[in-house]
Symmetry: C2
Subunit: 336 residues, 2 copies
């Protein structure tokens, strides 16, 4: 009996083929700070001066399963980058560089190209260097065609430009920015509803303006980089909450100091039909919906009281959704 690495299920040539397919798109993410060559043991990025690095890591959860079912692999690549960029933004940082981890049982170079190519394009769009990545082929670890993704992003910000929840004051305005859909959170619940209620992902639905549930579920996580830049140029931005896993109660308090809470007017925006279609089909309690999904608002910016009008002028689709108030309750988002 003779065994080779290939017969054990690992083919280095598949990985090489996969990587060669995205080389040009990765090269377009290069920034002047990037030094050194591809093929080194680590990616190199020069920084200078006093700087605070903001590091964040994320996955896209079981949206991966939908991407596979619907053959929409580009979406999750872009999702991963945008999710990480938004997390760095929430600390006040601009993205500097990104690395990805792609893990599967058997690399399919064409799928890899679609996923990681979309990551590269999303990085280029946000001015972020795609500095490296790991492509792992692990026979038997994943179901046929399945893969997992993790993204790592480092952003940078001058210390005095860090956003600090401790600076938030009673009466500050909560300015919401619309999401494109579920973004990258709450997909296990969404999939359970779809499967149990037998919802058709491919049929046009009048509630979704003739779009399909599959389209609505695969909408790409919106990146708020330009919005936050525009906002900081005009108003006093205190802090930001990125509404991801854990929904409103799980994230909005992260942008507030102890002793303060958020009074949010649920009537200030109309919840996109996707959330109603899913929530109603699954008979999901109202509170569970807001504790799992973003319900149509992907980012909440805490703006100094009195400056909310300027904030709304700076951002065409922003919505005043509430105020910061005193709160000693365990549940700090109050639906007003």
């Amino acid at each position: 009996m003779s065994t080779t690495y290939r017969s054990a299920g690992v083919d280095v040539r598949r990985a090489t083929d996969a990587l060669s397919r995205i080389r040009d798109r990765v090269a377009r993410t290069k920034r002047p700070e990037v030094i050194g060559d591809i093929g080194a043991f680590g990616g190199l990025f020069r920084v200078a001066g006093d700087l605070v690095l903001v590091a964040t890591t994320d996955g896209v959860g079981t949206k991966l399963e939908l991407a596979r079912r619907l053959d929409r692999h580009e979406a999750v690549g872009a999702d991963l980058v945008n999710h990480c960029v938004n997390d760095a933004l929430a600390m006040g940082a601009e993205p500097l560089f990104f690395l990805d981890y792609f893990s599967t049982s058997r690399i399919q170079p064409l799928v890899f190209e679609r996923v990681v190519g979309a990551m590269a394009d999303a990085c280029a769009a946000q001015g972020c260097a795609l500095l490296g990545g790991e492509t792992a082929e692990m026979p038997g670890m994943y179901a046929e065609g399945a893969y997992d993704l993790a993204g790592f992003l480092v952003g940078g910000v001058a210390r005095d430009r860090l956003l600090d929840p401790a600076s938030v004051r009673e009466g500050d305005a909560l300015v919401g920015l619309p999401s494109t859909g579920l973004h990258t959170n709450g997909y296990s619940l969404a999939r359970a509803i779809v499967d149990r209620a037998g919802l058709d992902l491919g049929a046009p639905r009048p509630e979704l303006r003739g779009g399909t549930l599959g389209d609505a579920l695969m909408a790409v996580h919106r990146c708020y980089l330009e919005d936050v830049r525009a906002l900081r140029a005009r108003v006093t931005l205190r802090s930001i909450a990125h509404l991801t896993g854990g929904g409103w109660e799980g994230n909005l308090p992260r942008a507030l100091p102890d002793g303060l809470g958020a009074a949010v007017d649920r009537g200030a925006w109309s919840v996109p039909p996707l959330f109603r279609v899913l929530g109603d089909a699954g008979s999901i309690a109202e509170r569970e919906r807001y504790d799992t999904w973003n319900m149509g608002i992907g980012l909440v910016c805490v703006v100094a009281a009195g400056e909310e009008r300027d904030a709304l002028r700076a951002l065409p689709d922003a919505i005043l959704i509430g105020r910061v108030e005193r709160s000693s309750a365990a549940t700090r988002v109050r639906w007003a």
Copy 2:
């Protein structure tokens, strides 16, 4: 029919429980540059002056499967950190901070604690801050009890301390440092051999000095940080190759410029018995062994000609394994 996020297989309380179990060990990795609180959208790390950041990401491959079979979860946590530290070292950098991605179908808080706790301890041992992580619960994605790991490390180095393969000269010495075993590469081949040949992982073996194959396979990836520090303090270190996926031919040329190759004397060290046990049981061709596994040498340091004696004095277990020579061949490691 009513569906909740918990009934869809995601329980935020399991994640919270898991995280609370490692909080103290993570806190011990804190460095003075770390600012801000746990619970923020990103980890914060201050840097100052002209600095090159070295970013690297890795997984531990299918060693994960062995860890699960043998209930040796601590090993893969430490492996992941040490693998990343060595990659940063190969560029000349010292580790600054680390983030982890832990992905599974259903979080088992006790397993999570063993894996990520070991990561925290490995970070603390290397003076590296564990700055953040993502714990993903993805129902249906992994087999019962299986999990995937990715690590992300940022190191720092002054520009003039970067190790540069372009500085390597003909005649430079190749100084090898022993590995503890397979480290984190070539496990798919090792597992295929174990399964096909029906090798017993738990029986003491005379060839392994009475140890078991399971013990030998789960040895933790050695971290070479102290060795490289000692070496740089005494000699002119040109470049480093970390022998990981792709073995000798896949990694040693990464530490050399075009036009130069490595003449390596395979007789300079004795290949640890683990490699012989596996290679013989699987009838693995000699070349395939060296193209997949490290064969007992985990790190190769390229030291300026004439300084090899000082290098060997600085490192008690280092071995002079060869020389840099001219090479125009596609295969740049020549077994001399």
